[in-house]
């Protein structure tokens, strides 16, 4: 059996699954100040229902890290950067008062083009020491292609400052984008300690209940990772909520189809896309508040309208406000809402019919419409707003830049087969949305706990992007900071098989099912021509055990 827990901002969902079958589900309000209490109140009923049957794993999706960052409860750290030539490093603001700039530079091939300055380094260490900072992030431009400078600086700082915790950029992420690497490194450094204490609290809690099943955490990219391993990069667990709901929808809809995940909440409608059975990822990484990071996450979008959105009339026109004033009028709230319109139109049984009609009357006065007509107008406006956001998402996917002819050629206009509704207001509104967009409107069974189902069924995933430079006889892996010498890889075929065997090896360590099929995501070779002759090759190979959900048949044997 599997347990999935999604600790969301407002509600916590939890399910006990046998295969894909829901044995028990729980929905409880989240207490953000006491997340562990929330966890217990969601978990205990499931453990009772399991009646001592063996648990294979528990998967947790949590807003912990998102909350830590949002509320700025993160510890101060020094930022040491080695920007080299290019953009003025002050163009971006990293919100770190103690930022140190060091000279020294590595170029795009990983060659040292300017050495570090020992005097500067000495001064930097003295300053950090004087300020009593306990943490430091060291990030260099192109450090993923040569970690030498970062390591020299980190080693020096650790030698000269007792108990300093240092994190280097190349350890966190190797994708090109220096400013994003800085943000991601800072966030990782800032959340590690809190995350670890949260982790040990949970372990205690599970131990008390005699649970030995491994604990997994859901990442923003929809993969799971053992809690222990995730502690190295807690920032990867932000936004696991949208990942959980998308995976939930993946589990609850036919394979290979294109679907829009529609989560209609109180004042927002959250959207995600599944293109031909694959969740769509944000192209350069997640945005966390005003920080752009390199955390791999699903592409999500949000329309500013939900079941409780406050409705007003301004100069004879209906306006959907981005806020709520309590629940819908028909549920005892203060102002008319789309939920009241749904009640009047007979789309929901929720709340009091008379109050709903009254709400539409109030609204209809300024519009010179009767309650029925008003309700219709409200529903039109509400669905229009959501559809516009869905169109925008597809459009921005189509408009995403591409750098190869075949990529530009193959991208066709795609529109969804399904709208899949989760969240409270979805069942009422979704059929209307589906009709307007000409696609199926699905409310899967157990939609209200789709997030927990998604978490429970999420596979362990692993993506490794290799970059070989055969002239420099060297390669690095973007995702895990590995930089190694290599003399064997000379051709694209060498690189592909090297990458694949490394993937399988690393996958085993994470507990990836041996029956899972590894995939070659892309591979590309550039001949380096010097003086009309090929001197070496630059080879990019990306391989993965993809994000996905555990399949019925794999679980069926139990």
């Amino acid at each position: 059996m599997l347990i999935g827990l999604d600790v969301g901002g407002t509600y916590t969902d939890a399910v006990l699954l046998d295969g894909q079958q829901v044995i028990k589900k729980v929905k409880t309000p989240t207490d953000n100040e006491h997340l562990l209490d929330t966890l217990v109140s969601a978990l205990d009923p499931l453990l009772d229902a399991a009646q001592g049957e063996s648990l294979e794993r528990i998967v947790l999706s949590t807003t912990l890290i998102t909350n830590l960052i949002a509320t700025n409860r993160i510890e101060p750290a020094a930022l040491v950067i080695i920007p080299g030539p290019g953009l003025n490093p002050y163009t971006y603001d990293y919100h770190v008062p103690d930022t140190f700039l060091l000279s020294g530079a590595i170029d795009y091939r990983g060659r040292e083009i300017e050495p570090l300055d020992q005097q500067e380094l000495k001064k930097c260490a003295e300053e950090i020491n004087k300020k009593g900072l306990k943490k430091a992030a060291v990030v260099g431009k192109f450090s993923q292609r040569n970690k030498k400078h970062e390591e020299t600086v980190a080693t020096y700082l650790k030698e000269h400052i007792p108990d300093l915790c240092v994190l280097m950029g190349h350890q966190v992420t190797g994708r090109l984008n220096f400013p994003r690497r800085i943000h991601t490194t800072l966030l990782t450094l800032a959340t590690q300690e809190n995350y670890n204490s949260f982790y040990s609290e949970i372990l205690k809690l599970l131990k008390k209940r005699g649970i030995t099943a491994p604990l997994y955490i859901l990442k923003a990219d929809g993969g799971t990772l053992s809690f222990e391993l995730s502690a190295a990069k807690p920032v990867e667990t932000i936004f696991s909520g949208p990942a959980a709901s998308t995976l939930g929808v993946l589990a609850l809809t036919p394979e290979g189809e294109t679907s829009v995940v529609v989560d209609i909440g109180g004042t927002t409608t959250d959207l995600a896309l599944i293109l031909s059975g694959r969740p769509l990822f944000a192209s350069r990484g997640a945005r966390v508040g005003d920080r752009l990071t390199q955390v791999r996450a699903f592409a999500t979008s949000s329309a500013a309208v939900g079941g409780d959105s406050c409705l007003e009339v301004e100069n004879g026109a209906l306006k959907i406000m981005p806020y709520r004033k309590g629940p819908a009028y028909c549920l005892g709230g203060a102002c008319p809402t789309p939920t009241d319109a749904m009640r009047v139109a007979g789309l929901t049984e929720l709340g009091d019919q008379q109050k709903a009609i009254r709400a539409m009357e109030m609204l209809g006065e300024g519009l010179k419409l009767n309650p029925q007509e008003t309700a219709e107008l409200v529903l039109d406006k509400t669905t229009e707003k959501i559809i516009a956001e869905i169109e925008k998402m597809f459009l921005s996917w189509e408009q995403e830049p591409a750098y190869r002819i075949w990529e530009l050629r193959q991208k066709k206009k795609v529109r969804p087969n399904n709208l899949v509704g989760i969240g409270a207001a979805s069942p009422a509104l979704l059929p209307l949305l589906g009709k307007k967009m000409g696609c199926n409107a699905l409310i899967p069974p157990n939609a209200e706990v789709a997030n927990a189902i998604g978490a429970a069924l999420a596979k362990v995933n692993l993506r490794l992007t290799f970059h070989f430079d055969t002239e420099r006889q060297f390669f690095f892996i973007e995702e895990n900071g590995i930089q190694e010498k290599n003399r064997e890889v000379k051709t694209l075929a060498d690189a592909e098989s090297f990458a694949m065997s490394r993937l399988i090896e690393e996958g085993k360590k994470l507990g990836i099912d041996v029956n899972d099929q590894p995939e070659l995501v892309y591979s590309e070779v550039f001949n380096m021509v010097r003086g009309w002759r090929t001197g070496g090759r630059l080879i990019d190979v990306c391989v993965q055990f993809p994000t996905g959900i555990l399949k019925q048949q794999e679980e069926g044997d139990h």
Partner: protein
């Protein structure tokens, strides 16, 4: 408003595997731009290229025997990338834009028998003709900062009084394509609208900026164009393997800051590691109004880029001379072309280095008191395979008067009927925005 950027490095296209114009060319530029996080800056917005239409190409070129033969998808995306930015500019989505695309285009002439100087079709000319047609722009200035003479641009606009072309380049006696001298000043209807600035080898930032400040910018101020375009070749760089100049990344950035082009389109530049990553970063930052003072090549030392007195004297003299030519262009035109004649005729020879084609051209230029007239080009292409193709093409200016329009169309109709000895006959009817070609297979109008 932000600066628009189309980055189309065509990572899956090359002339040949070891050719300078190959997949690898913008690879390190990509690495540098992506690592800088430039695309995340609010000052920049990235657009995706689209495919240019055949009609867009027909506004600028006569492709022999047809457009399909001369182009690949890469060409259509490179030209289309420039068009995307042209639209964004005119729709006021962006302040200015840089099409960082390949393959390049500024050696492509009106008649295209094949590839010259790595170019098949002219991205800027296609963009300019689109802007004139779609948005009604009148006066356009092109400043070419590629180290090679922009002979394609010169050819396409030689008879167009509405397009000012200024080309900086290494002296034609020392570099391909061997043209671009001070006396190539424009045809009878557009004399003085073609300004060549041939530079001595080893000219540095100092010299180029002297000419910018004392010649190019004053001419532009005088001409008052609706739009300034930069043919942004980067092979004046001191490390370029195909040329001998001493220009730096910061020099290029500063040039862009001062010139303030509305649209820039990448041309040549083949120091793919030592120059392009830095030059492109510098140009983008300068166009976006960001600080480029941190951009420098690894081996850059300011003291290495001083002009010799001898060269500075030449440069000053050149600036003075060309400024006088510009101011006196109307009187000089009268001396150069006797406007009593109705037609002027020119013979010339054109060499296609990449494809090994020799072309003989006979151009008949209609001189009209009322308008910029039209031209008839008879071209004979002799291919390396021994094959010969002969075509005749009629090009009518946007502002051609009724009489000239009728004359030119009449000529095309007559040649269509009497096609003996000609493989293809073309009509580029810009006033009507219609483009035709007629061969043994019959006549077609070039549409989408």
């Amino acid at each position: 408003m932000p600066t628009g950027l189309v980055f189309f490095p065509a990572f899956d296209w090359a002339i040949t595997p070891t050719h300078p114009e190959r997949e690898e060319r913008l690879l390190y530029t990509r690495d540098q731009l992506f690592e800088e996080g430039i695309m995340d800056l609010p000052e920049l917005i990235e657009y995706k290229p689209r495919l240019a239409l055949k009609k867009d190409i027909a506004r600028a070129h006569f492709c022999v025997p047809d457009i399909e033969t001369q182009i690949t998808d890469a060409h259509l995306y490179a030209a289309g990338g420039a068009l995307v930015l042209a639209d964004a500019l005119m729709n006021k989505e962006i302040d200015n834009g840089f099409a960082l695309v390949r393959p390049p285009g500024h050696h492509s002439m009106r008649v295209v028998h094949g590839n010259r100087g790595f170019c098949n079709i002219h991205n800027e000319a296609i963009m300019i003709e689109y802007l004139r047609k779609k948005y009604g722009l009148q006066r356009i200035a092109i400043v070419d900062t590629d180290v090679h003479h922009g002979d394609g641009t010169q050819d396409i606009y030689y008879h167009d009084p509405d397009v000012l072309f200024i080309s900086y380049h290494q002296d034609g006696r020392t570099l391909y394509p061997g043209s671009g001298f001070c006396n190539e000043l424009g045809g009878p209807a557009a004399f003085g609208m073609n300004i060549n600035i041939p530079l001595q080898p080893y000219t540095t930032d100092e010299g180029i900026h002297y000419l910018l400040d004392n010649l190019v910018l004053p001419i532009l101020e005088d001409f008052k164009p609706d739009l300034i375009i930069n043919s942004a070749g980067q092979d004046n760089h001191y490390t370029d393997p195909l040329a001998n100049m001493r220009f730096t990344a910061r020099g290029y950035a500063k040039l862009n800051e001062k010139l303030a082009p509305d649209l820039a389109v990448l041309e040549g530049g083949y120091a793919i590691e030592s120059a392009l990553p830095y030059v492109n970063t510098g140009i983008i930052l300068a166009m976006a109004g960001l600080d480029y003072s941190w951009v420098r090549e690894p081996d850059y030392k300011e003291e290495n880029f001083k002009e010799t007195k001898e060269n500075m004297d030449y440069i000053k003299e050149l600036a003075d001379y060309l400024w006088r030519v510009w101011k006196e262009r109307e009187q000089l035109a009268e001396q150069r072309y006797e406007r009593k004649e109705k037609f002027e005729e020119v013979n010339r020879h054109i060499y296609y280095d990449t494809d090994g084609i020799r072309e003989q051209q006979h151009e008949t230029i209609r001189i009209c008191d009322q308008c910029p007239g039209y031209q008839i080009i008879r071209s004979r292409g002799m291919y390396s395979t021994g094959k010969v193709r002969v075509i005749e093409a009629v090009a009518i200016h946007h502002r051609a008067c009724k009489t000239c329009q009728e004359e030119a169309r009449g000529y095309y109709e007559q040649r269509k009927r009497e096609r003996e000895g000609l493989d293809v006959v073309y009509l580029q009817d810009k006033p009507g925005d219609r483009y035709y070609q007629c061969s043994a297979d019959g006549e077609i109008e070039i549409l989408d």
